[in-house]
Structures are given as structure tokens and as C-alpha cells.
Amino acid sequence: MEDKNIADWMNTSDPSQQKAIVDDIAGRLDLAALKISQVFLGLQPYLTNEDQPLPQIAQALRLLADVLNQLQAPLDRIDIHQLTTYFCQRLVNEDRLGSFRAGIKECAEILSALAKMKPKFPSTDARLIAQAIFSFNIERNLRDQKAATRRTLLELLDTLIQLYKPSLIINGSSKAFVEGVVLMGEFEKDPTCLGILLPMYEKLSKEWELSEDALLLIWDSFVRYYPITISGQNASVPTPDDLRRFLLNCFISNDTYAKNAFPRLIELLDTSQDLSANVKNEVFRTMETCITSYSLPAVLEWAPKVWDSVKFEVWNGENDEFIRGALNVIHGITRALSSQADWNDTENPSVKIVLSILNECKERLIDSRQRHVVETGKILYAVATASPYGFSWATRMLLPSMFTHWQGLVSKSDKTAILGIFNRILEARLLVEQELEAKLRDEASSQATPRGDGLSPPTRADYLSQSKDRLASTLNETRRNLVDDIYFSAMTEKISDSPDGTQFRVTTIQGLVFLMSIQDLLSDFEKGAIIESLNEILLQPNQIDSLSEAAASALQKISTGDPVKFQQITLVNFMSKLPKSISADKRQRKSELDSVIDLLDSLTKIACTATCNAETGQSATETDPKHYVFDVYQKALLSKLFDIIKQDGQLPYANVILGAIYRGLVSFDGVLDKELKSTHSAKPFVSSLHPYAWIPLTLLQQFVKIKHGPTNSETPYVGLDLPLDKDEVVDRFVSLLGDIITLALRSNQTTAENNFLNSRDVQSPNVSSQIWSLFVENAPENLNSTQQDLIYGPGDKCLASALSMSLVAGVRREDKSRLKIDVGNAALAMIKNATSTQNECSLYARVSMLYFLQLLVNKFGAAEEKIGGRSLVEIMVDLIHSCNSNPNELEVERYYQTLSYFTAAALACRDKSDQTLISLMVQGIKDPKAGRKVARSFRILLGPSKVMCKENFCLLRPIRQGRLFQFAVEEFIKLWRAYSFELQGDPNAKDIKTNCLIALTGCLAYMDTKVYLSHVNEVFPLILEGTNVQNDDFTKLACITIIRTLVPVCPGVIESHLDSVINRMTDRTHNTYYSPSDANVASRAAALEVLALLPRHIDKVAMLKRKNKVISELDTALADVSMEVRTQAQKCKMWYFNLVE
């Protein structure tokens, strides 16, 4: 049986068959139905036959290896011993038999499988195996074996080290074993082998009590690889980072290595000229790891020398990465030495070393004056952030002399440099405090278990607590100098507008923020004074940008840490600067509004770009106290807005305030969104409470009222109560109000639980939808049917409808039921409203009706809704068909306008009506009166929309572009050709052709190039022609922009029209006093960009022929009246300058 199995094994290379054989043998061995000796005997003919080919022998051994690895139960002790002895003999091969040279890897695997059969494996056999491996290495040259074999032998050794350490120590000495291992690694360069060898060295050094000699052997072996540059090429091989880590672990595996490691690393740094950047960085990393990993005695011995070798890198170095590496080492030195508890003793060796470092820094600061101030500051920071005691000594040693030094400084740049160091010290103080607090928290929460620092839990807690006290008292000693003499004096010092002066003030401001952040350092009065001085900077007109930014950023940080001070000082200061009203004089008003905008921009940055990190214990509204600053700011703005709106002629001012409310909301919503994402599982403050819905609701409550017609007999409606002003001013106000509503509703902060739309009246089905009532109290019950009718206006009702649209815009598609309106009816009403010529509504109100229609079609499927048996699409088609007989031109225009918005919405969501609607539009371009506008309206179909957008949960399917090309662009090409040839006699042919170009460009302007790339040969002549269309800047610019996109994508097409392209572009760019161009600035600049692309993408010979002509035109463009055009011409000229044979 076995003979057959083995014969089968020897004759097959099919893995599945091989597996079956192994499973069978192993299974029967486990059941004791078979003995290992039988298997071994079956294999014997293959193993010892000297005539057998070596691969056959290896194949036979592989069977045994696989079987042994598959066994569930270990073999008998005797069998194991006999097999071990036999395979060790094979490895040693004293008789130098040829057959024993085969299958070394398999032998190693068999021995490994046997060694793992604990406890049956005789531990004394471990030494036998180790000796056999070492003997094999010496006698038969391991170097000749493949890496996989060497790796298996190393793995076998590693197994022995892990399982049979005592057996490998001969006569109490491990040296012989270590020698054997080191010899195996003598020539090793293979990453997979090193991946086993290096961790083995680490284990031996760390866990075995090796003699100095043995450790030296290991050191000499692994240090050869430093810095390691060997790397693997595939995933199974250790990465360069793995190998680097293994080697680093060897370095720190035994303290004895310190005396070898540090000299070696210092030597490498000293010969830095020959080091590559990577090597040098590696040396710094190793130094840092060593210094923080060796025991204190080793560090004490080497820290001064390490400091000497790295300090000049900081003081004299130019490479930021090296400087950072050196600073990490210095930080490491202080951290390592800080583990010593008693730091008050200046005779303590640890303290002495750190003091000597600080003394050198002090000398540098005082003696060399400004030469190394910044660098010394970095060293101080590295020392001070290492531990509370590091910080304590750094301040004790340096601050007094720095104070003295400061007094003698005159120039602002010198003072800025020293201030930078003070800032770093304060920053270090904050960092160390945070670290200590984290440790104290850990300590309180963790069980009383001893840790690696050797301190018992109570001692450690005491130690941390003392550290905290010490830290708190450190700056108190020098508080007066630091706060009064340095920062307050710097803040009051006069500065010029020069960069030095500005930088000085900015650095001071940064320091003040640190001062404010340190607990209990400043009095309330001092904190108030700092805030006042920062406010003063921002409230000063025409302030330098960088100074304003620094002050705003500082106030933002201070305010989030102390919200009440924001409310009591900053907010009051800023709001008191807002005028009660603005002037009626246009110029004066603009200047006043500009000041208000600057002021509110700063305040918005302070109050709306972060949540509070300190709580007041109270909230400004019912929402999260972390929103305190934002809430009080928004409340103040609302209050100001309501005051302003009471006065006549103040709507532009109200717009600015409303703009600030909106800007603040956008910023704050972004902040909350980020927090929501970063703390995904965190629960909101109160889940049913929207964080800022109170803002739009307060606004609506203020401006939305129940109105009655002039005679009081008409049906009451919901209208807006706004002061009279120009349409565009009122429109801006309503549009901003709408934006605020939409933003609040569509925000990620709006959940099913806190959604404020139609949530209150869920239980009262008869109450009108809040879409129409706009949250007004006691709204008429029939509002659902009356409020959507705007055919006869009035204007304020139409504006209220714009706000209704804003609500619909913010509703998610899946929340259709929340609307509580009849989607089809509302959409039809909007068509009627938008096409009505009898309502006196503003532009924004009218376009809002169209947006309303779009939202209902795109998000809520209104196109197919039936109203009176006809679908909305059919009604639209009927309206367009009625245009032919409609004498009212304005009405016809409005029908087509409505059609274009309807089509855009249907096309975007790929409604089945889209083809019908697009065809109607295509036919519309032939209309002698409305045709031009219909042609232009094609740009609405793919153009960006503020309302019909993804943010408002609209469906914008990518397929819409292809469908528009198919149903419209291809039609325009056909029409244009028809009116160019067979229909050219038509009296309207010229206009229709132009309309084709305009409509086609309107489509392509927002279409991905890849959609029409396969038709580019048909499209391109029309695009070229489009650049000539008169009185249509959009079309001209769009055509040039399309050409600009096509030049790199399909240069062949451009080349075939090269002269036309150049002529069309230079016709646009040629803009002189006597011969002005028909193109605007944007088109002229774009044309120059096209010309600049040609030398890069078009055949050089072809371009060289035309170079002179283009250059002559470029010289003209260089004198264009517009700087933007000249800049493009200058760039373009360089491309032609470089175009040479």
C-alpha cells in the first residue's frame, strides 16, 4: 500500500493528487494504522540510491516533510529521535554521499517538524540539530544553497532558540551556539533570510545572558548591514522598513551595544560629507531610538558625546530634515534623562548633562547675539517639551538672561527672533501640561499595576502630581517679566508698516494666545486687556492683511477657550462699531458698507470657524453649549438686522447683515460636519434639537406675515413684510434668506429626528403645509390650494413663494411625504405662474417659480403626474404648440423659457419625457422672434445651477450629456448643413444658422469632451464658425474654450484646420485703438491660450511656417489695453520664442 502511495507520489506533479496522498498517509499515521517506519522504509529506495537523480530524492523527502507537517499527533519519542539522528547525519554527510546532498531544504523542514513535536521531541536532540546545521555550514558551504534553503535552515535554528534554549547552552556557555549562528550570517544578504536572522540576533542579545565576547560577535555581524539598503521586490519579502526596524531592534537589544553603537553613529555623522540624505536621516533616527531605549547608565555615559555631535547640525545646518532629526535626538536625550526622579539636585548626573546643554544654549544666545537665536530656540523647545523637569530647567536657566538680553535689543527683527523663543517656551509649557494631564488621567483610570519605570503606582502618581505642581509654579517665578516686560510691552510698542514691524506684531500676537491658554497664569484683567488690544487691531480700518489675519486667528482661539469673554468684550466691541444706519449718498454708503463687511468678515472668522473647547456651563440658545460663541454672535446679528430693517432705505445694510449670517452658517456648518465625521459615533447634544434651525425660523417669523389684499376682501395669503427698495436689493435679501433656509434643511446636521419641516403638525393633517405657510402662526387652512396661485401676484406673495422653493430645495428625495403638497398641481401652478404676464413679480421671484418647477420634476417626479387627465409634460407640449398662434410675444418667450427649465430638470434625471422636450426646443430655434433666445437657452440644460444641484439632492445623471448630444447637437449639425445648402434660400436661413451655432455651443460648453470626441470632425467646423458669432460673448468664449480643450486631445483635427484656427484666434486678439476686436477680455485671453498651445501640440514644421505671422499678431496683443490679455500674450510669446528648428 505504502509502496504504491509512494510510487504514485514520485510519479505525479499534480498538486491535488499530491495532497490526497499526503492526507491519506498522515491520516493513517494519526490513527496508528500505519507506522512512520513503514513510510520511511518505503522511501528508502529513493533516498539512498546513489544513481537516483537529485530532484527525485528531494521529491521523496518532500513527501515526508509534508506528512510530518500534516500530523495531528506527535510521533513516538524513539521514532522522533531516530528520524532526527538520520536527518542530522544527512546534513552532516560525513561520508560525502552524493544522495545526501539532495533535498537540504526538505531535510530542514523535516527536522523543523520533528522539533515542534513537543513534548515528545527529546530536548537533547536540539543540540544535535544545531550542530548538524553548523557543521553543514562549515563543511558544505551554505553560500551555495538557494535563499529558500538558507531561510529554512535559519527558521529551524529560530525554532530551536524559541523551544530549547537550555539545551543549546553547552557547559554553561552559549558562545559556541552564537558562533555557529554568526557564521551562518557571515555572507547573508538575502532580505528574507535577514528577516529571520536579525530578529534571531535580537532575541539572543535580549533574552540570553551572553558574554561580552558573544555579544561582540553578534554586534559585528549585524552592524555590517547598517544603514541597511537591502530591500525585497515582492510582497512576501520583508520591506525595507521592516528590515530597518529589525536592525534597529538589534541595536537596542542589549545595553552592551551602547559602547559600540554611539561611536559608530557619531563617526557616521562626522563624515557627513559622504552621507546621502537618507543615510543621515537614518543615523538620526537610530540615535534617537538608542538614546531613549538604553538604560540610564548607558545614556549618562554617552549623552554628552551625542549632544556634541548633533548640536552643530542645528546651529550650522541648512537641511531642515537633518535639523529636525538632530532636534529629535536632543529631545530624546532630555526625555531619557528625565526618568531620574530627583531633579532638584544639581549634582545629579542627569541634571548636570541637561544643564550643560542649556548652558551652551545660553552662551549662544548671549554671546553670538542674533546669529543662532532661532536655532537655539529650537533646541530649547526640544529640551523643554521633553518633560516637566526639562521645561523647568530650560526656563530657570534661560529666561533671566533672555529678559536681560531683550532689554538691550533695538531692531524689530532682533526682537522678533527672541520673541519667537519666548513663544516656543510657552508652547512647550502647554504641550508638557497636556501630556502630564493625559498621564494623570491614565493613572487614575488604570489599575495599580507596576510599569517599566520601576516606580510603584502610588509613587508614580505622586511623581506626576509633583511634576504638575512644579510645572505650574515654574512660570510664576518669571510671570511679571514675561507678561509685563515682554509681551505687554511688545504689544504696546509702536511698529512701522515694514515687514519687520508686521512680523514683530504677528509674533507677539501668537505669544499672547499661548499666554491666554496657560491655566491661571493671567488675571481676568490681563486677559481682557489682551482681547481688547486684538480687537483694536481688527477694528482699525485699512489694517495690513497679515496682521488682521493673525489677530482674527488669535481671537478665534481665545474665544473658543473663553466664550464668555467673547460675548462680553469682542462681540460688544465689534457690534458697537456697526453704524445705526447707513448714508443715503451712494458713494458714502458704499464706503460705510465696505467697513461693515470687513468688520463682519473678521467677526465671522472669530465666531464661526470652531466650536468652543471650554464650556460656559450655560448655552446661549437651547442648543449645545459648545456652540456658545456661534450662537451669541448669530443672535447679535439677528437683533441688529431687526433694528435696521425698521428704518427706511436700510435694506442694503440689512443685506450685509444677512450675508454675514449666511456666511457664518456656511462656516459653522462645515465645522460641525467635520466634527461629525471625525467623531462618527458621538451623539449630538440633544438629538431632537437642530443646532441652528432657530436662525431661519427666527428670520421667517420676523419677515413672513399673513396678508390681505388692498380691499381686505381678497383671500388672505402668506407674504413677505419687507421695506420698499429697488427690486434687485429686495431680491438679494430674499435670495439670501432662501439660501439660509436651504442650508439649514439640507445640512448633514438635519436628521429625521430634528428636521424642522412639517414635523410639528404631523398630528394635524388639516393644517397647511409649512412649504406654503412658511411657519407663520394661524395660517389659513386653505393655503395649500391658494398660496401656489401667483398668476396675478402680488409681488410679496411671489417672493414668499421663492422661500417655499428654498424649503423644497433642502428636502431630501426620500422625504417627499414631508412636503405635504400635491407635487403635480404645484408644478402646474408654477408653470402658470412663470408664464403669466399679469403678475408684477421681480426677476428672482419669477426664476424661483421655474426652480420650484425644476425641483418638483427632478426630485419628486412631477413630469409624469396627471392633472385633469393630462400629464404635466403633455400640458407643456400643448403650451409650446400654442405659441404659433399666440400674438403675445412676451408670453411666447415665457413659454419657451419655462420649457428650457423643465427640459433641464427632466434631462438631468433622465425622465422619459426628455427627448420630447429637447425636440420642442430644437424646433424652437427656428422661431423668427423667440428663436435666438431659445437657442441661447440650451446653455441652461447642462449649465451649473445653484438650485438644481447635487447639494440639494437633485438627480444629475451622467447620461444626460450623451442624450443631449444625440437629441440636440446632432440635430443642429443637420440643420446647419441644411440651411447652408439646400435651404439657403430661406429668408431666415442666416439667423437659423447662427441660432444653430449658438445652441450647439450652449450644449458643448458644459459637455465632457469625451462625449463628442468621436464626432469631432463634424462638430469642429461649427465650433470654428461659432467664434465669429457677433454680439454673443458667451458663444464666442465657449467656442474658443472648446478649441483650447481640443488642441491637446485631438491635434490632428486642429492641424487640418490650422490656418483657420490661427486666423480665428488672431482675429479675436487683434485689438487696437483703430481696429477694436469683437471679443471681450476673456475671449481675447482664451484665444491667446489657444495660440500658446499650438507650438506644444502641433507639428513643429507646420508651426514654424506660421511663426512670424503669429508673432506679429502677438506683438499687437502685447499692447492690449487689458493686463490679463497682455499677460497671456507674454506667456504665448515665450512659446513662440522657444519654437526653433
Binding site: 465671522t604 435670495s735 441661447r936
Partner: protein, 204 residues
């Protein structure tokens, strides 16, 4: 500035970014367009229906006349043309090395800007980083070529070494002013290669 192999000034002073900005004196309100979107941008934003042709005047889709504001070439524009030119010795711009300075760009424009035949004169004074700079002529040539390429033909360009900043300024100035020598230099392919390399940043 110095020879390519042995640097004349291996460690030149480099101006910080804030110092470069200072030459443009950007104050609040002057360059509002570069700022992040603030309240002003929200209020000035085009209405959402700006694309709608039904709201534009009939048969005209032309923007407001944007050519009505003349933006004549000034010293700042000329300075911006030469500031990014890179030093042949260091990978740094002439601006950051302080070789070109805004206050050393002089422009004399004719009274009637509309007259295409009227000539404008440009004088640029260069400050070499060291007084013995051997590449002063090459840099001067680079500046001159750049301006001749980037300014309209009606501009006459003169490039000089600033007084007392170079030990051989007279000789260098003579070379830079000699049209024939300049033309001959531009025939030299190697030199043109260096100039093109220097002007590469101008194309960004």
C-alpha cells in the same frame, strides 16, 4: 551670480516670501479677488439666473464693456515680467535674490497712450549678489531678451548694472547696450540655451 562650476556666491541672501510681497504692498481691499469667499463675495455674486438668456437684453449677449477700463503697462507689470527669471547659478528667481527690485524699474511713457507710434522707454537696473559676479552680463542679457519679447515693439528697453554694485559695471553696461553684440550673442546656441533655461519659469 557666478560661474557655473565655482560659484561666485555660494550662499546668497534670499529674501523671504513676506519681503517679496512687500514690494507689491498688498493692502486690504486692493486685491480682494484673491481672498477666500467672504461676505463681499456672497453679496456681489452673480444672480443664480445669470445664464438665463431670457433675462438678457434682446439680441445681445455682450458683457458690460470691459475694455472701458484702460490698464496701461506700469513698473509693477514690467517688474513681474522679469522677477521670475531664474539665476543661471542658483535655482532661485532674480526677485528672491534681490537682483531685480521694483524701485529699480523705471518707465517713461509718452503722454498720448493711444498713439501707437509713440515710444516708451524702460530702464531696469540690476543689483548683482556680489560685486565680482561673472554672470552679470548673462543675467542682464536674459532680462533684456525677456523684456524685448514680452513688451510691445514700441518699448525701448535698457538694462544696466546699478551703480556701485559691480566691479566691472561699465564694461557690462557697454556690452548690454551694444545692439550688435547683443544680436551676435543671441546667435550663440549655447548662450540661447542658458537664456531659455533662465526664462522657463516665465511660462508658468
Amino acid at each position: 551670480m557666478g560661474s557655473a562650476k565655482e560659484l561666485d556666491n555660494a550662499n546668497p541672501t534670499i529674501l523671504s516670501a513676506s519681503e517679496l510681497q512687500s514690494q507689491r504692498q498688498r493692502r486690504k481691499g486692493r486685491d480682494a479677488s484673491a481672498k477666500e469667499e467672504g461676505i463681499r463675495e456672497i453679496l456681489m455674486a452673480k444672480p443664480s439666473y445669470a445664464l438665463d438668456p431670457f433675462y438678457l437684453s434682446e439680441y445681445s449677449d455682450t458683457d458690460s464693456d470691459d475694455d472701458s477700463t484702460l490698464e496701461p503697462i506700469d513698473e509693477q507689470e514690467i517688474y513681474d515680467l522679469i522677477a521670475p527669471i531664474s539665476d543661471p547659478e542658483h535655482p532661485l528667481s532674480l526677485e528672491s535674490l534681490g537682483v531685480v527690485k521694483l524701485q529699480d524699474v523705471h518707465l517713461i511713457s509718452p503722454p498720448d497712450l493711444a498713439n501707437p507710434a509713440a515710444l516708451s522707454r524702460v530702464l531696469v537696473e540690476l543689483t548683482p549678489t556680489v560685486t565680482h559676479c561673472s554672470l552679470a552680463t548673462v543675467i542682464g542679457l536674459g532680462v533684456r531678451v525677456r523684456l524685448e519679447q514680452a513688451l510691445p515693439p514700441s518699448y525701448r528697453v535698457e538694462v544696466k548694472i546699478k551703480k556701485d554694485t559691480h566691479s566691472q559695471s561699465e564694461e557690462v553696461n557697454k556690452q548690454l547696450a551694444d545692439k550688435e553684440r547683443v544680436a551676435a550673442a543671441l546667435e550663440n546656441a549655447n548662450l540661447m540655451g542658458i537664456l531659455r533655461k533662465m526664462m522657463e519659469p516665465c511660462q508658468d
